[in-house]
């Protein structure tokens, strides 16, 4: 069964790639990259979904019921790691764009190609 969030993940990825390629402003390209990685994260979390599942926190359920009906916790851990990585890359990209802006007074990629 194809969940609707798979479709949304693909839409995110496509939108992100489009923004990273077709937009001229560097900040919009960076936002596009962020949307692309969000699409990948959505795909990864949806892989672990189980219909009618419970959160993977073993509080009061017994072991059998817990193992059968919990959603998969591994993709959640992978996505948390990846969100932190994407955050630091975005921060770094923004700093570099800011420094480029200070030196060249523009954030437009086409103008930058001519100026450099």
């Amino acid at each position: 069964m194809i969940l609707i969030s798979y479709y949304f993940a693909i839409i995110f990825m496509a939108t992100g790639i489009y923004a990273a390629v077709a937009k001229d402003n560097l900040i919009k390209k960076l936002i596009g990259l962020g949307i692309f990685t969000d699409g990948i994260h959505l795909l990864l979390i949806t892989i672990g979904y189980k219909a009618g599942g419970i959160a993977p926190i073993k509080d009061m359920f017994n072991a059998n019921y817990f193992v059968i009906s919990a959603v998969d916790p591994i993709p959640q851990a992978l996505v948390l790691t990846s969100i932190v990585i994407a955050f630091s890359v975005t921060a770094l990209g923004l700093i570099t764009i800011r420094l480029l802006y200070e030196k060249y007074k523009t954030t437009d990629a086409r103008d930058l190609i001519e100026k450099i």
Partner: protein, 490 residues
């Protein structure tokens, strides 16, 4: 047997923190701490070589969780070779960085340690998501180091690299998530047992390989590398060009061979490698900038290594030839970058048309640079010859067009190498500026480095069986998939 491979990552991490803390107070701390930690790591690697030559693989389970549930640290023959390349090139880069980095040393050495940490983690891990995390660690530290010199052109190179590089690692993540979705495991050995032909696994392979090819600067995806090498500090440029590329190619080998077995993707790889060789040589011929020319020549040689790996699926000796060429390329790059640093800091420009005429009084520099260039071409008695000859023979037996193209590219290599040598050393006219016929002062330890590189290049050239024997032993250990899988899963 007490194995110490698991201490590599903590040692590098502790040294990075120590440099960050002690660096601002003491001037000599960053270089000393980095040197000590890299030397210690190299000793651990050499010590582990004895264990690996006995049992073929070193394994360590993080926190004791059994495979395939926990994260495995698994080093086999080729992993050991990559570790020694990373640490040796790191030490050589530190010797260059001692002369080159005169300000903000704390930043540089901390980031350099973290970069080495990322590469080490990529090499020793046996878990594919852990591999992605370490890939991101080394990428992020290289994004910062790319713009270290803070000139205008370095920011342009950095933003190009950030956008392309983060897109590439996101592709690797997508491939990893496909693999997890289909097979339910992240352990490389467990995946090697379970992967079968099918649309999903081919899609995951395509995504992961695309991401790794961007990191290795193979041709359709190479556009960021020459600008990066031009604007980054030369010591980081060497570490990046030699170690990062080698680890990316090791990852391609691990994923394509160990996890996927011998699938029939090798023909496409041969075409990609031929295009890489040819384009690298053609672009190098048009370059006036010394650092960019070395970058393009490195891209061209990576095409040779990839051709060796691709041919290995048809004839096993191809893997040995590719690995031998990788070892030679690392040594050649070290020699070229080390002499390029002296030349560029002497002339204060990296534009080759403004250099010239220092051949009379700089014999050592000329010898090292010339030997490096001759090895690139593949002249006998210098170290590139044996590996290139093996590649020619194997490619002629398997796929003759590849042999034809690689021979032509070697001729083109000779063209740009001779042009570079002539422009830098022999061109006597038009150099009334500073630097003509001057004897360049090279510090003592740097001199020893140049002598050592010259000696190694000529030694491997005259006695190629050393390198061949080493590559064969390493490859025979690494080509045994059953050894890897059983070593990890037992």
């Amino acid at each position: 047997m007490y194995n110490m491979i698991q201490y590599l990552v903590p040692i590098l991490l502790v040294s990075a923190f120590a440099i960050a803390v002690l660096g601002p107070k003491r001037k000599k701390a960053p270089l000393g701490i980095s040197f000590a930690s890299l030397a210690l790591s190299l000793l651990i690697t050499i010590y582990s070589a004895f264990e690996i030559s006995k049992s073929g693989i070193i394994k360590y389970q993080l926190s004791g969780w059994r495979p395939p549930f926990g994260i495995t640290v698994a080093v086999d023959g080729i992993g050991l070779l990559m570790l020694s390349i990373i640490f040796t090139v790191g030490i050589i880069s530190l010797i260059i960085a001692k002369e080159e980095i005169k300000e903000r040393e704390t930043e540089f050495f901390t980031l350099f340690m973290i970069f080495t940490l990322g590469l080490t983690g990529m090499t020793i891990t046996g878990d594919i998501f852990n591999f992605f995390v370490f890939l991101e660690i080394s990428s992020i530290s290289s994004y910062i180091l790319a713009s270290f010199s803070r000139e205008k052109s370095s920011f342009e190179a950095a933003i190009k690299y950030i956008v392309i590089g983060s897109f590439a690692t996101s592709l690797v993540l997508l491939g990893v998530s496909f693999l997890y979705g289909i097979y339910g495991t992240l352990n490389m050995a467990d995946l090697a047992l379970q992967v079968e032909k099918g649309f999903g696994s081919y899609a995951a392979l395509a995504l992961i390989l695309s991401g790794l090819f961007v990191k290795a600067a193979v041709v359709p995806f190479h556009a960021w590398k020459p600008d990066l090498i031009r604007s980054a500090p030369i010591s980081f440029g060497l570490a990046f060009a030699a170690s990062s590329t080698s680890v990316a190619l090791y990852a391609v080998f691990r994923i394509l061979y160990t996890i996927y077995g011998a699938f029939s993707t090798a023909k496409v790889l041969i075409y990609i490698s031929l295009i890489t060789m040819a384009l690298g040589a053609v672009m190098a011929m048009q370059e006036k900038d010394l650092k960019k020319m070395i970058a393009y020549s490195a891209i061209s040689q990576i095409g040779y290594i990839l051709m060796g790996f691709a041919l290995g699926f048809f004839d096993r000796a191809g893997f040995t030839a590719g690995l031998y060429h990788m070892i030679n390329l690392v040594i050649i790059d070290a020699a070229l970058f080390a002499s390029a640093f002296i030349i560029i800091s002497h002339f204060r420009t990296s534009d080759m048309s403004r250099m010239g005429g220092i051949s009379n009084s700089n014999r050592l520099l000329m010898a090292v640079f010339a030997t490096g260039l001759l090895s690139l071409v593949g002249i006998p008695f210098v170290n590139g010859f044996a590996s290139k000859w093996m590649l020619y023979i194997i490619s002629f037996q398997v796929y003759p067009i590849a042999a034809f193209v690689s021979l032509i590219v070697s001729a083109a290599t000779l063209a740009y190498c001779f042009k570079a040598f002539e422009l830098i050393f022999l061109n006597n006219t038009g150099t009334e500026k500073s630097g003509a016929q001057a004897e360049i002062h090279i510090p003592g330890h740097y001199r020893m480095l140049l002598y050592a590189l010259l000696f190694i290049m000529i030694a491997i050239g005259v006695l190629p069986d050393i390198g061949l024997y080493m590559s064969e032993r390493i490859m025979n250990l690494s080509l045994d998939r059953i050894l890897y899988i059983s070593g990890v899963m037992s």
